[in-house]
């Protein structure tokens, strides 16, 4: 049965304007919002860091009072981790994953919209605390009992706990969306072992988030119950235990490090083949390393608690896991080296950023291995040595690959090349500034400077190293500014990018820059790990039908494929833009402000609006959404498998025929 095709532009187009800017379900528009928002939070978190560094440039400075300083370092941590690093990688993921796997949308477009708005709203919620000068001030790790109602009676910690519960909704929704998209929507032929490493990185990141986030949400709920409703989870006087908070926090908090690191390593292993003009050496091992890191990452949380007095036997187990987690990193570093040595390295700006990251990652990895040793960690934990270590890993991972990605994918996203010269200036400023800012912290830590102090005394020999760090911070800020200027300039004046300016190997380069609303004119059929290198017919996104290209030009639809082998399974109609995710966010915002101010009416109204929005969101309206199953060639293994699994699928014998589940008419199959 052949149904007339409609123009893809009409099927996928959204009218530009404020209305659809709010309601859009287009992954590219949402991704750009993610990126802009995350970079604004990078700016805010950076300003906080610069205020702190100015205060610490010399002993006994009094630029800000201790209360403000404590709020600044708490919000700096929260901002950089939750509002910059995680969203920026989600942003690149939301943009690139559908393109890299050759589909047209995320699996749940409206959920995608909601998770963005919920992230922004949670960020605004937490930052609104500055308006009443009551920002969270118990550290991003928020240890009890310092964070309970006795020692922090103000609303500071309520902003933290409620904000993170709110953010947890966004993060969990996004994780489900990513995992479904990656596992079920890859272009036909993109078997798991042909999936780009960045997509693997996103998969590892989102799987970790899905399993780690509940611990933080739970801990935050328990803390709110203890603060306001007389529960005693963390109160030793009533049989509770403060160590419980630390376990719950770090069983989330340590995987979080890998949640930030894994997509960064994915970006690395995606940019590297392009700029060494060869495939990744040891692709399988690199992928296994990514997944192994995500897995082992759940077994090392107690190494944040080596100084809490837990028994030595328990510490030894966590110590060995902490050493082990370095092995996958070792595999990846040596795979990168082998790729560089056997390829033709091209030192464009994206390549510079990832090479810079490789050096930083190795230094951070080496200091991390040191900290895996219990006696060494007991000496250095809670000192500037550890501040140095995790900035090398986390800030290194969140800055360098992100900036590399801006230069690498920027031409795809905005259609114009960024300026190379400014890019190189920016790289060197950031690289030199970064090392100047963070390397001396190792030495200061060993000299005895503890973390989270708002000032220090004269005569300890700490002044000049601290001054060096402060200078480094400002140099780094200049480098970031250089990229910002470069970006603004390039948006108007940059050279037009064309489909594939770098000669890359992945599918996002097989369509125009920026991609059309529907991403690909035809859903490609992939036969290689490097589709755009090995399948020349793919290059303009119009793979002809005889080569496997599928237009799917009816309705707003995408192809669902099988989990391992990406054989077509079903055609799925996706919903279009909607304002209900925005209303849901508004409702939740009302609920959380109600809970914060303890105005029951506001919370109830917010809850009601949320409930109404959810119902309205999924309420079936005019446009019917269908899913119809594709039967595969008779006799093929997966055909019989499917027949066994879903007896209702009628095979019509053709590779492209499609049968609908009973009582549900499927048009256009």
């Amino acid at each position: 049965m052949k149904v007339a095709e409609e123009p893809l532009e009409e099927l996928w187009h959204e009218e530009p304007g404020l209305g659809t800017w709010l309601s859009t379900a287009d992954h590219k528009r949402i991704a750009k919002k993610y990126l802009y928002t995350a970079l604004i939070f990078l700016f805010i978190g950076g300003v906080e860091a610069m205020i702190m560094r100015t205060q610490l440039a010399h002993s006994n400075l009094k630029l800000v009072d201790p209360e403000t300083f404590n709020q600044l370092f708490t919000m700096h941590g929260i901002t950089m981790v939750f509002l910059f690093a995680v969203p920026v990688f989600s942003g690149f993921g939301v943009y690139m994953v559908p393109l890299m796997i050759g589909t047209r949308e995320m699996a749940f477009p409206r959920l995608n919209s909601f998770t963005y708005w919920a992230f922004v709203a949670a960020g605004i919620f937490m930052y609104s605390s500055f308006l009443i000068a009551k920002a969270p001030d118990a550290g991003w790790f928020n240890y009890t009992p310092l964070s309970d109602a006795t020692f922090t009676p103000g609303v500071n910690v309520d902003f933290y706990a409620l904000g993170l519960i709110f953010l947890g909704m966004a993060v969990t929704g996004a994780a489900i969306n990513f995992i479904t998209t990656i596992l079920k929507m890859r272009a036909p032929g993109m078997t798991l072992n042909r999936m780009p490493i960045f997509v693997w990185g996103e998969l590892a990141m989102q799987l970790s988030l899905l399993f780690a986030q509940p611990a933080l949400t739970l801990a935050s709920v328990m803390l709110m119950l203890q603060r306001h409703w007389h529960f005693h989870f963390f109160d030793p006087g009533a049989g509770g235990d403060n160590i419980l908070w630390q376990h719950l926090f770090w069983i989330f908090g340590h995987p979080l490090v890998y949640i930030i690191l894994l997509p960064a390593l994915g970006i690395f292993s995606t940019i590297l083949p392009t700029f060494t003009r060869r495939s990744m050496v040891g692709y399988t091992w690199v992928v296994l390393a990514e997944m192994a890191t995500a897995f082992i990452g759940f077994g090392v949380w107690v190494h944040h608690m080596f100084a809490t007095g837990l028994p030595s036997t328990a510490l030894s187990f966590i110590s060995i896991a902490s050493f082990m987690v370095a092995i996958p990193s070792g595999i990846q570093v040596f795979a990168w080296l082998a790729t560089i040595v056997s390829g033709k390295p091209v030192l464009k700006t994206p390549m510079l950023f990832i090479l810079g990251f490789m050096v930083i990652f190795v230094i951070g990895g080496v200091s991390g291995v040191m900290a895996a040793s219990v006696p060494f960690d007991q000496a250095t934990t809670d000192t500037y040595f550890v501040v140095a270590h995790f900035h090398y890993i986390m800030a290194g991972a969140a800055l360098f690959p992100t900036f590399g990605a801006i230069y690498y994918w920027g031409p795809k996203i905005w259609g114009r090349m960024l300026h190379e010269g400014w890019g190189k200036v920016s790289f060197w400023l950031i690289f030199v500034g970064f090392n100047l800012a963070f390397f001396p912290m190792h030495i200061l830590g060993l000299m005895g400077m503890p973390r989270r102090i708002y000032t220090y005394q004269a005569g300890l020999g700490w002044d000049w190293l601290n001054l060096l760090e402060t200078i480094g911070t400002f140099v780094m800020a200049l480098g970031i500014l250089a990229t910002a200027i470069n970006w603004v300039w390039s948006l108007r004046r940059g050279e037009r990018a064309g489909n594939d300016p770098w000669g890359s190997d992945t599918l996002e380069w097989a369509t125009s820059s920026p991609p059309p609303d529907y991403d690909f004119e035809r859903i490609p059929e992939v036969r290689s790990l490097h589709p755009t290198w090995d399948q020349p017919e793919l290059r303009d996104g119009k793979q002809p039908p005889e080569a496997g290209g599928r237009s799917l030009a009816q309705h707003h639809r995408v192809l669902a494929t099988s989990l391992l082998d990406a054989t077509p399974e079903a055609i799925v109609d996706l919903p279009k833009e909607s304002l209900w995710p925005v209303w849901l966010t508004v409702g939740l915002m009302g609920f959380f402000y109600g809970a914060l101010t303890r105005i029951g009416l506001l919370a109830a109204a917010g809850g009601l609006l949320s409930a109404v929005s959810v119902v309205a969101w999924v309420w079936p309206r005019g446009q019917t959404q269908e899913m119809c199953w594709i039967s595969s060639r008779p006799g093929s293994p997966e055909s019989s498998f499917r027949t066994r699994r879903r007896a209702r699928v009628r095979s019509r014998g053709g590779g492209w025929s499609c049968s609908s589940p009973p009582r549900r008419r499927c048009s256009g199959c």
Partner: protein
């Protein structure tokens, strides 16, 4: 560990740099899709060599841990340390009590029993011992040994609120004989001053709110909120290492502690200048008297 770490970093940097130098002018067509040595190199270097180095590190670190545990089992003396917002209390078995200055005999292992009175603190003397947290509801242990007599600076390492930056203390290692004399003298109650100004100060101290929070053994002052001041004049610092003890700093501190250490529990004193002078004179008279 540092040497191996540096070697690994250098190896990566040098190999990367050599690779870039040699590969930059390579003919693209000559690049092979599969490098036979590539996967072998990744496995040998990434899994094998990394694994062996890490296993060795682990064994060394576990042995160090076991040896530290074992050495901690026999100690000469046990001191009880309590962390407070934001100062340290030290109690000795003979009843001596002091604050922010932990005296130990040099060359002997000393065991610390650690508790917290409010939030989590962490005791850290970088030159002497690893750090250990003081956690409300839990009892932790740490041993330390100062090889040579001297003064070792320590500081709270776990963020504990507003004045985490000013929770400093000193471990003072005395030669064993001197330490015994110190501990005995510290346990003796304060001697009443003979100087009239100091006597006036004593009356003011006991009559004003001071005695509500501070204890001076041998007087009616038995407060427990702030540090024990029985032999205050023997200490080197004030307000948990914030200031050196002198008549000027002490005057400043008594009049307005909040401007020096914002958020500290001690309230500003509503006293006339000569009253403060009297209290300062009294506090500075609280030495060891004639005992040592």
């Amino acid at each position: 560990m540092l040497a191996v770490g540096t070697a690994v970093t250098l190896f990566v940097v040098v190999m990367g740099a050599v690779g870039i130098m040699r590969g930059r002018h390579r003919d693209e067509a000559s690049i092979e899709r599969d490098v036979p040595w590539g996967e072998r190199f990744v496995l040998i270097a990434g899994l094998g060599v990394t694994g062996v180095i890490l296993a060795a590190f682990f064994l060394v670190s576990v042995r160090a841990m076991a040896s530290l545990d074992k050495q901690g089992r026999s100690t000469a003396l046990t001191i009880d340390i309590t962390g407070h917002d934001w100062w340290w209390e030290a109690r000795y078995p003979n009843g001596a009590v002091t604050a922010n200055e932990i005296h130990v005999p040099a060359g002997q292992r000393v065991s610390l029993r650690l508790r917290s009175d409010d939030v989590i603190h962490s005791l850290w003397v970088p030159q002497l011992a690893p750090k250990i947290d003081l956690i409300p509801g839990r009892l932790n242990h740490l041993w330390l040994e100062a090889d040579k007599p001297g003064q070792y600076r320590g500081q709270c390492a776990e963020y504990c609120g507003l004045q985490h930056a000013h929770m400093i203390f000193f471990v003072v290692a005395d030669p064993p004989g001197a330490f015994d004399r110190w501990m005995r003298a510290m346990a003796v109650p304060a001697v009443d001053p003979s100087d009239p100004l100091a006597q006036e100060g004593r009356a003011l101290f006991l009559g004003q709110s001071c005695a509500g929070c501070h204890a001076i053994r041998g007087t009616d002052a038995t407060g427990e909120l702030g540090p024990d001041l029985t032999h205050f004049a023997t200490r080197r610092t004030l307000a948990a290492g914030t200031l050196a003890v002198s008549p000027e700093t002490l005057t400043e501190w008594i009049l307005d502690p909040q401007s020096i250490k914002p958020g500290v529990t001690m309230p500003p004193a509503d006293l006339a200048p000569d009253q403060v002078r009297a209290i300062v004179a009294y506090l500075l008279s609280l030495g060891f008297g004639s005992t040592p």
